[in-house]
């Protein structure tokens, strides 16, 4: 079928590329401490990109009956498309990336149900007043890419995930805790997730007041993900750099951040959920250093953006239901040597941020983050004193990342998108009620 579409497109355009994604997913959901819903999802979609008279046309459909029309649909859009200054790549030598484990398919529904029940039981043992929800899912993805440069490449990926959430309502005081793990391999025990959520519960066991002002702030890995990463990943995206809409445009090779801060994009880690041998345009995956000891090293590109910026694709083309655009596969922040406990013990009065809410709703391009501390803890005399509420944290990543007191040794994966340790900043602005 794909061959036919390519043939058809070749008749009307200079270049063509077909990208097909098939997936099967089987999620189960627990609500209010019991099993609620068992799902199975099958999906198939096909995208055709063409280059006609030097311009890009695009059409996509999940309806096989419409596939013969794809070439015509793409042709209409090519009349207005962007000028293409690149060639679809021939088959490239891709790194060996382990992302498929046949074991995932063999995890039975019964086992998944048991894992979910065990996680909820484990959390209720910590606090019986909680109302818990949990989700587990196993999925398989098949990707195939064909183009007129002769590439016909494909891969298969397996995915397993589990998540656990707890809600504690006392009067109008509401606490939400939650965490999860994911991998390309089966996760056979829920105890690690229970421990992660249990830690949040323990730290938030009572509410305490925090005074407004400037103070030391530690972001946990989740805190880094919800506060620092949205603005940083936007600024390192070649698309924004090329448009000069990134504060990091023109800063390659410059020391912008604290020497302790290093960041790579690495889609080649074994069994990490976002790993892949090639990107969504068929460019081979590579490890791209983004920031080395505070110095800006690279921006990420897909073929189209790279051509505009006179750079090379870094193998970061991603499709999210539309045309490829540069996107991070898996960002990894280099851990430090200080334990989380050591960081906390050195602070007289400060804040730990677990989850921020709304930090990505300000002037993200300018690097600002300002949001409500959805889950955060006060530090008093080197100890975690309890949960803070009605507290807002504001700052700018370009100022904040210039001076880092410490980077934790506690690096962990979050959803396969980010590997982050805790980060300790000497001074950020906090407004509390």
């Amino acid at each position: 079928m794909l061959e036919k579409i390519i043939e058809q497109a070749k008749k009307v355009a200079e270049q063509a590329e077909c990208f097909m994604v098939e997936s099967e997913s089987a999620p189960i959901h627990f609500e209010a401490n019991h099993l609620k819903n068992i799902e199975s999802k099958q999906s198939l979609s096909l995208a055709l990109r063409i280059i006609k008279d030097g311009k890009i046309g695009y059409a996509a459909s999940s309806n096989p009956a419409n596939w013969p029309k794809l070439a015509d649909m793409a042709l209409e859009t090519a009349a207005y498309g962007q000028t293409a200054r690149f060639q679809f790549p021939a088959t490239q030598t891709c790194p060996e990336v382990k992302i498929f484990d046949p074991e995932v398919e063999t995890v039975s529904l019964e086992e998944m149900v048991k894992l979910g029940k065990d996680m909820i039981t484990g959390l209720l043992e910590i606090n019986p007043e909680l109302v818990c929800s949990a989700s587990l899912a196993k999925s398989t993805f098949r990707i195939r890419l064909l183009n007129t440069s002769g590439a016909d490449i494909s891969y298969k990926k397996s995915h397993f995930s589990m998540g656990l959430e707890g809600t504690l309502v006392r009067g109008t005081d509401m606490l939400f805790v939650g965490d999860g793990l994911s991998s390309c391999r089966p996760i056979r025990s829920g105890s690690e997730v229970v421990n992660l959520v249990g830690k949040q519960l323990e730290r938030a066991s009572r509410n305490v007041n925090l005074q407004s002002g400037e103070m030391p702030v530690i972001f946990t890995p989740h805190g880094v993900g919800s506060t620092i990463i949205p603005a940083l990943s936007a600024a390192l995206n070649g698309k924004l750099v090329q448009e000069k809409a990134s504060p990091l445009a023109g800063k390659l090779g410059e020391q912008m951040f604290d020497p302790a801060f290093s960041l790579v994009d690495d889609p080649t880690q074994s069994f990490s959920p976002n790993s892949r041998p090639f990107d969504d345009e068929g460019t081979a995956s590579q490890i791209t250093p983004m920031v080395e000891s505070g110095v800006i090293k690279n921006f990420i590109y897909d073929l189209r953006t790279a051509a505009l910026a006179k750079a090379k694709s870094t193998g970061n083309a991603e499709r999210h239901g539309g045309q490829p655009a540069p996107g991070f596969s898996a960002l990894m922040i280099k851990p430090g040597t200080v334990s989380f406990e050591e960081m906390v013990s050195g602070i007289k009065e400060g804040l730990i941020v677990e989850f921020m809410m709304g930090a990505e709703q300000g002037n993200v391009l300018g690097g600002d983050f300002s949001g409500n501390v959805l889950l955060g803890y006060k530090i008093e005399n080197g100890q975690i004193a309890g949960r803070v509420k009605d507290t807002m944290l504001s700052g700018n990543i370009y100022n904040a990342l210039k001076t880092i007191n410490a980077i934790g040794s506690d690096g962990r994966w979050l959803d396969g998108e980010l590997f982050s340790p805790s980060i300790y900043f000497p001074k950020l602005s906090v407004a509390a009620k």
Partner: protein, 458 residues
């Protein structure tokens, strides 16, 4: 289209043979187009079409859900959904009855903007792009237009067969200004229920937005803390959606005894002047529909009446479990998802105050306009404004950089002390919940004044 219609009618004859407490089937066909600009150049243009369906089964209180693109073997998928539901179920099913309905809305694809040539749409966008770039100090801009047309078939084991369609249009524009390494942005977001004219006459709004982005470069940052804030109708609409709307969704409440206690009907939530409504039956708004995705007729629903909690948003399951009337608020963004409790058109009813009266007596406060974003965690919410100005001695004064407002719903609603007489509905953006985003909704309000609102500084 006829193929799906035939399948739907054929299946409706068969559904009552199956052994399940309840079964429903959704089939859906859609098409869409989009054009986006980044900077001075067209970035992407594309067309898409989609076809798929799902089956939901309820057995002994457990749900099975199967979604698919391939229309082969639907019978087998029905068996699978029932099997899954039976595995999940371990209690009695509670599911509210609704009258069975046979309804077919006329197909309007031919009149929808999707069918227009891309060239027409591009011409309008080019005008906007040129307008933005005429302004000095503009570094870059993003413009995105998308439209879609979706036709849905709903069949259930209680005899309903419902055909509905909707057109949807979304438009966003962002202008980015820079000076001395500083970047500031301003944006507008407009949507409509298929009315193409809603996005063809935005020239003056685009101009204002662009000038505002430049103005922000020299604007001061607000000092964080508590302020008296006045919200314009657009931002107050986002506020009511985030701060209160989500809390009215019964699926957050129905299985949590403590939550049920907090959200007990009749409880005082705000001042007597406060009335909040969710109403899918308003004509031609993005959150409007005749039947929800469980085949329940849409109804106007008072969530807060005279400051007291008076209703909430339900699916058939939450209504049955809470023993409350159906509201018709089960919605899914597409066939890939099961319907969950969602808002439709949510607004604060107008009061009697004027903006001048609200400003009067505010020694130092903040006037916020236009939405930028918003999110909630039930008790706490944040939302950000597109424009913000200091209020000094009852007058709107200097522009401020973007501000993020935050609060606790249980305090903030009580702190509303004035409600304007100028209700306006806003149709930009969409709502996200439970992985389903964006769902077309609309929201609105008159101007409102809130005392002691927490504003994040920078």
């Amino acid at each position: 289209m006829t193929e799906l219609r035939n399948i739907a009618h054929e299946l409706s004859q068969q559904l009552y043979h199956y052994r399940a407490d309840y079964l429903e089937i959704h089939l859906e066909e859609s098409s869409g187009s989009y054009i986006s600009y980044r900077g001075q150049n067209l970035d992407t243009a594309g067309r898409s079409s989609d076809l798929g369906g799902n089956i939901r089964a309820l057995v002994n209180g457990g749900w099975g859900f199967v979604s698919f693109n391939s229309l082969d073997d639907i019978q087998k998928r029905i068996d699978q959904a029932i099997h899954q539901a039976a595995l999940a179920g371990s209690a009695q099913s509670q599911f509210a009855s609704a009258p069975s309905v046979t309804y077919a809305q006329p197909d309007e694809l031919s009149q929808s903007s999707v069918e227009r040539p891309l060239e027409d749409k591009k011409r309008v966008l080019d005008e906007y792009k040129d307008l933005i770039w005429q302004t000095k100090g503009i570094k870059t801009s993003f413009i995105r237009f998308s439209d879609g047309y979706r036709r849905r078939f709903y069949v259930n084991s209680r005899g309903s067969v419902i055909e509905q369609s909707r057109a949807d249009i979304n438009f966003n524009a962002t202008a980015i200004a820079s000076a001395d390494g500083e970047l500031q942005q301003s944006n507008i977001s407009v949507g409509s229920r298929g009315d193409y004219n809603a996005i063809t006459r935005l020239h003056s709004q685009i101009k204002d937005m662009t000038e505002h982005a430049v103005k922000l470069l020299t604007a001061p940052k607000v000092k964080g803390g508590e302020y008296t804030v006045i919200l314009d109708p657009i931002l107050a609409g986002v506020f009511v959606h985030e701060a209160f709307g989500h809390l009215s969704e019964a699926d957050h409440i129905y299985e949590n005894p403590q939550m049920r206690e907090v959200m007990v009907l009749g409880k005082k939530f705000g001042p007597k002047i406060l009335n909040i409504v969710d109403n899918p039956t308003m004509p031609d708004l993005r959150g409007s529909y005749k039947y929800d995705d469980e085949g329940v007729a849409a109804t106007k629903n008072y969530l807060i009446r005279e400051g007291k909690l008076s209703g909430r948003l339900h699916s058939r399951e939450t209504a049955a479990k809470m023993n409350e009337p159906l509201s018709g608020n089960a919605r899914a963004i597409s066939y890939r998802y099961a319907p969950i409790v969602r808002m439709s058109n949510t607004y604060i009813e107008p009061g009697t105050s004027t903006l001048e009266e609200m400003l009067d007596g505010v020694k130092e406060g903040i006037y916020v306009k236009n939405w930028y974003g918003g999110t909630t965690s039930m008790e706490m919410f944040t939302f950000s404004s597109g424009e913000a100005y200091m209020i000094r001695d009852g007058k709107i004064a200097e522009a401020l950089r973007l501000v993020v407002l935050s609060g606790n719903v249980f305090d903030t609603l009580h702190n509303i002390d004035m409600i304007g007489n100028d209700l306006d509905m806003n149709q930009g953006g969409g709502c996200g919940k439970g992985g389903q985003s964006p769902l077309p909704v609309s929201n609105g309000s008159p101007h409102i004044r809130i005392q002691k609102c927490l504003v994040g500084g920078a």
